[in-house]
Amino acid sequence: MNASLLRPALRVFDFSLGQMLWSRRSVLLGLLVGVPVVLAAVVRLFAASNQLPVINGAGLTGPTLFGILIWMLFVRFIVPVLGVFYGTSLIADEVDDKTITYLFTRPVRRSAVLLGKYLAYLACVVLLVLPSVVVVYFLVVPIGGHIGESFPSLAADLGMLAIGLAAYGALFAFVGARLKRPLITGLVFAFGWETTVLLIPGYLKRLSVAYYLQALVPHAMPQDSTINVLLQAFQDQPSVLVSLIYLFIIVGVSLWLAGRAVETREYVLEQ
């Protein structure tokens, strides 16, 4: 990455970060990351006077519940939603607001604009999602668990979520830069395609981001039945290294394609 791309990208990042953080879309983001914190606080209060329920015959503990929250709320919902809403809007918002001309008439490469906005997106979502995860961790894990013992899983989760946000953001940045109605396509991909292919046996699931993210998640649902153990043993899952390589490839290729799309596409502003 040369200086002609990076320096203007950092300038765009600088003003885009504030724009993104204090936009109306951030209300949605705040609500999304606030829900798990509220949920964790409620669980903590509930656990102070009651015992947590039993799932699949196994007692629910704080670390297990944290794993469930990470997988069900963050990985399967919050991360893709943020990726779709922010990623697709990086360029589409400027087109809708008819302000793209001001950016593209600057003496900088168009792809630098996209890169700067992508970095701003990444900083914005990482700075909101990761503190939320940390707060949830300290609220939930002490219920029948230990902060120290579960710390490696927290560190792994934070890394995994940051990579997930980067991958979804890059993918949907490309969708936003390439397609005219990117939001619908993004939602269909995140909640239609990704959910479906994970359930279909075969190689189709390799064409999803969730498949590689799943391999990085060190949690599992509480289970103790033999069938569940067998299902897990036979589950087709790539290794952590392979998943990381594929996720970085997804980020790199998506950003490159998004950059190319922005450089070559002619944006027609509707009057």
Binding site: G18, W22, S49, Q51, P131, V135, F138, H146, G148
Partner: protein, 354 residues
């Protein structure tokens, strides 16, 4: 970047790094679950012998304050419990509800106890009226000795301080001195910590307090098993092989016992009762056989209790697990089960004795 954005970035990064830093410190150093509980178990392990065959722990304060205990207190003969506690308090000056924080006890099968059956000691942490306890023990014939600068209150032989009722007979049972009397002692090891039990082990606890040396806390194998019990407010663990060897059981009985080396029970009493019973077998094959036996008993119990809802829920909560040499049985009994059991037992308790 505006000032508002800059503050936001700083606060977010602060939350992340403080969280990660705290987690990292907890991971490497370990946060004690209480001021007296380290990652290697309760602090009192330092005063117990390294050759202890059984060690037990109870967080008395937590158990007494638990919802389950409060339910028991209300439902099962509350007046009798109150009277019993008052009687104990009058005799010892100790209020079990408020004065004792926790107790750690051990049984050493290799120590010289009565009739060569080993000896035991209990270390209780809490708030004690030293003068009253000493006076009460002296009233019952105990003598005060000095042992390495500590006041050791020694009773000549182990005898209950008040008459024990014998069945329906209201006359006190005559105290028959044991053939090999083992003296019973009490000593205040340090402020708020009392040791009571066999004189040999109480003296050993004082030795360890004064001069250090090999204790349960330095027995790595034992400590590794204690670590696994962290999280329970009551637990016990022991060496089954040592106990079996000292028990001098007839061969026909000894051969029927499963080849278990270590056993442990970790319990958590709060709204209900959760427990994990673990046993470490001699080898994988023995553990597999033991699991099969327990599985069989579980199936039988489920069959037997299918028509008894008060027991059914309890039996359903039993879960068998374990790999390799370990066999574990977990149970999770919600407080409602105790209510059902209490309701089932109530008519029997109310029935006049024949």
């Amino acid at each position: 970047m505006t000032v508002r954005t800059r503050y936001f970035v700083i606060v977010s990064l602060l939350v992340i790094f403080v969280g990660l830093g705290t987690g990292l410190v907890a991971y490497y150093v370990g946060f004690p679950t209480s001021a007296f509980f380290t990652r290697n178990g309760p602090e009192e392990l330092r005063f117990l012998p390294s050759s202890a065959s059984v060690i037990a722990y109870a967080d008395v304060r937590e158990v007494m304050a638990s919802e389950l205990r409060q339910r028991f207190r209300k439902s099962l003969a509350p007046e009798a419990q109150e009277n019993g506690q008052h009687e104990f308090q009058n005799l010892t000056g100790i209020n079990i509800e408020t004065d004792i924080e926790r107790v750690v006890g051990c049984f050493d099968a290799t120590a010289s106890g009565s009739a060569g059956m080993g000896a035991g000691v209990v270390l209780a942490r809490g708030t004690f009226d030293n003068v009253k306890i000493e006076a009460l023990m002296r009233e019952h014939g105990a003598k005060v000795e000095d042992y390495k600068g500590k006041r050791l209150i020694v009773a000549d032989r182990f005898s209950p301080p008040f008459p024990v009722p014998d069945g329906n007979d209201s006359t006190p049972t005559p105290r028959v001195p044991p053939q090999n009397p083992e003296t019973f002692s009490l000593a205040f090891i340090e402020p708020g910590l009392v040791a009571l039990g066999s004189t040999t082990l109480v003296q050993h606890a004082i030795d360890l307090h004064v001069g250090g040396g090999e204790s349960a806390a330095t027995n790595e194998e034992l400590v590794s098993h204690v670590k696994a019990l962290e999280g329970g407010n009551v637990w016990a663990l022991g060496r089954m092989d040592v106990l079996r060897a000292r028990a001098k059981l007839p061969d026909i009985v000894a051969n029927q016992l499963p080849p278990i080396t270590w056993f442990s029970v970790r319990g958590r009493i709060n709204g209900g009762f959760q427990a994990l019973l673990s046993a470490e077998a001699r080898d994988d094959e023995s553990a597999k056989n033991l699991r099969d036996v327990v599985r069989g008993f579980l199936a039988l119990a489920k069959l037997q209790t299918s028509s008894k809802p008060e027991f059914q829920r309890f039996v359903e909560s039993l879960e068998l697990s374990g790999t390799g040499r370990t066999v574990a049985l977990s149970l999770d009994v919600p407080s409602q089960v105790f209510d059902l059991l209490g309701a089932a037992a109530a008519p029997q308790l109310a029935r006049p004795q024949q």
